[in-house]
């Protein structure tokens, strides 16, 4: 594997309380390291987005938290339990939307599938399930195998939400949803969060689709976290700097390791840098660069900067 690049962004969220933690979590499929010493921390009540490219280990991580994958090293704590040996208890507290939309019994009707789920979750709120079904325009008489990708996703979201679990694990929840349904889903999730105390982990490679909901961000690549921090800290600490630079300009040494992404031309730089705004501006100015503008970046831009910066190094 590649040498560990020192993380430019913080990865420690402090003392919690956390709904989910992993320490040094490792999982390997054959010679492929899907998770490579992962320290995940999801604070209670957070909406934590797990960003990363396909194959970064997002689904493996979520399935490990569900007790569906056996990990090989490290430790996992989900709602106070280790899913490896108390999987049933852990799953009782989780609403899960799996990555695969072809999920569930193809031969069942949607109504029967919802009934099935209700039996397994004593906290099932039938009235809420009915309301969600109506908002999503789900026909309970349809056979599951006759559902389109988007319809399946909607059914899966109802299955995950209607028992009002303390933890939601949503693996690419907006995958396959058109714009209108995606918008409706965000609205449903907003109301759900307002009505029931819930910790949410959303895995996605398209952050912009869920960005307004998110308050914590973890960027995952190669089975490791490149950064894990509250969204507000990300917006304050990770900024984009535009500066005019003289020909043959050399960057200041104190910025090494903090520049997440370098863009620009010979005379103008567009750098995404982690650090205190004034200190970075001063550093650039003292090195001869004329800082023209500083702007925060969106969660999506931050993820792109971190991930592409990693590829470049």
């Amino acid at each position: 594997m590649t040498e560990m690049v020192p993380a430019a962004l913080p990865v420690d969220l402090g003392n919690g309380p956390f709904a989910v933690t992993t320490r040094g979590l490792a999982k390997r499929f054959g010679s492929v390291r899907a998770l490579d010493g992962l320290d995940l921390q999801v604070p209670e009540g957070a909406v934590y987005v797990l960003v990363g490219p396909n194959g970064a280990g997002k689904s493996t991580l979520i399935r490990t938290l569900m007790g569906l994958v056996r990990y090989q090293a490290g430790s996992v704590d989900v709602l106070g339990r280790d899913p490896a040996d108390r999987g049933a208890e852990v799953r009782a507290g989780i609403g899960y939307v799996p990555e695969d939309y072809r999920f569930g019994y193809a031969w069942m009707t949607v109504g029967r599938l919802l009934e099935h789920q209700a039996v397994y979750h004593p906290s099932w709120d039938a009235e809420y399930a009915r309301r969600l079904r109506a908002r999503y325009e789900i026909d309970p008489g349809r056979k599951c195998h006759a559902l389109s990708k988007g319809q399946s996703r909607r059914v899966q979201l109802v299955l995950a939400l209607a028992h009002r679990p303390p933890l939601l694990l949503l693996d690419e929840p907006t995958d396959g949803l058109d714009h209108v349904v995606r918008d409706e889903t965000l609205s449903i999730l907003s109301e759900h969060l307002a009505d029931s105390p819930t910790t949410v982990v959303i895995s996605t490679h398209r952050v912009y689709e869920v960005e307004p909901l998110v308050d914590h961000v973890g960027v995952l690549a190669g089975g490791r976290l490149l950064g894990q921090l509250p969204r507000d800290e990300l917006h304050m600490g990770l900024l984009r700097y535009w500066a005019d630079v003289p020909e043959g300009w050399r960057p200041p040494r104190e910025l090494s390791g903090r520049v997440v992404r370098r863009n620009g031309s010979a005379r103008m730089i567009e750098w995404t840098v982690w650090g205190d705004r004034d200190a970075v501006t001063r550093g650039l100015s003292e090195a001869g660069a004329a800082v023209r503008d500083v702007a925060p970046v969106s969660v999506d831009e931050a993820a792109v900067a971190l991930l592409s910066g990693r590829e470049a190094s």
């Binding site: 909406v47 907003s190 109301e191 969060l193 307004p212 917006h235």
Partner: protein
């Protein structure tokens, strides 16, 4: 109260919500003792995390603009004088952003002042329309 959030804005979402409330006060669509939308309704219609709305309301309460009455909702504080405090404050914020935008294009404060002065004389309607877009 109409609120539109912009993800390209760059400012935190809760700050944008606070500004929308301030703008409502300045324009008179929100008056002292008026109720604000509930956290649930506003977060649902904006598709944001309810915590973001709560945070905005909490900050507004700290600024003395609103009162959170538990179990009843959030209301504009009775003693608020938008003309005296919020109008200049909002104007300063808009000016600051215009200035930042100008410097991004390599313009100086003087360029901006000149342009603003000309605009105000020539196309008053346009400026009004622009100022009323939220």
């Amino acid at each position: 109260m109409k609120i539109r959030l912009s993800h390209a804005d760059g400012r935190p979402l809760y700050v944008q919500i606070m500004d929308a409330v301030r703008s409502g006060l300045v324009r008179g669509s929100l008056r002292p003792k008026d109720p604000l939308p509930s956290v649930r309704d506003l977060s649902s219609s904006l598709r944001v995390n309810p915590r973001t709305v709560s945070q905005a309301y909490a900050e507004l309460e700290r600024d003395g603009l609103v009162q959170v009455r538990h179990g009843k909702g959030t209301f504009v504080a009775p003693g608020v004088r938008p003309e005296e405090t919020e109008r200049p404050r909002l104007a300063r914020e808009v000016a600051r952003r215009a200035l930042a935008d100008a410097s991004r294009y390599g313009l100086a404060l003087a360029d901006l002042m000149t342009a603003l002065g000309e605009m105000d004389r020539k196309v008053p309607m346009e400026t009004t329309a622009h100022g009323d877009n939220s």
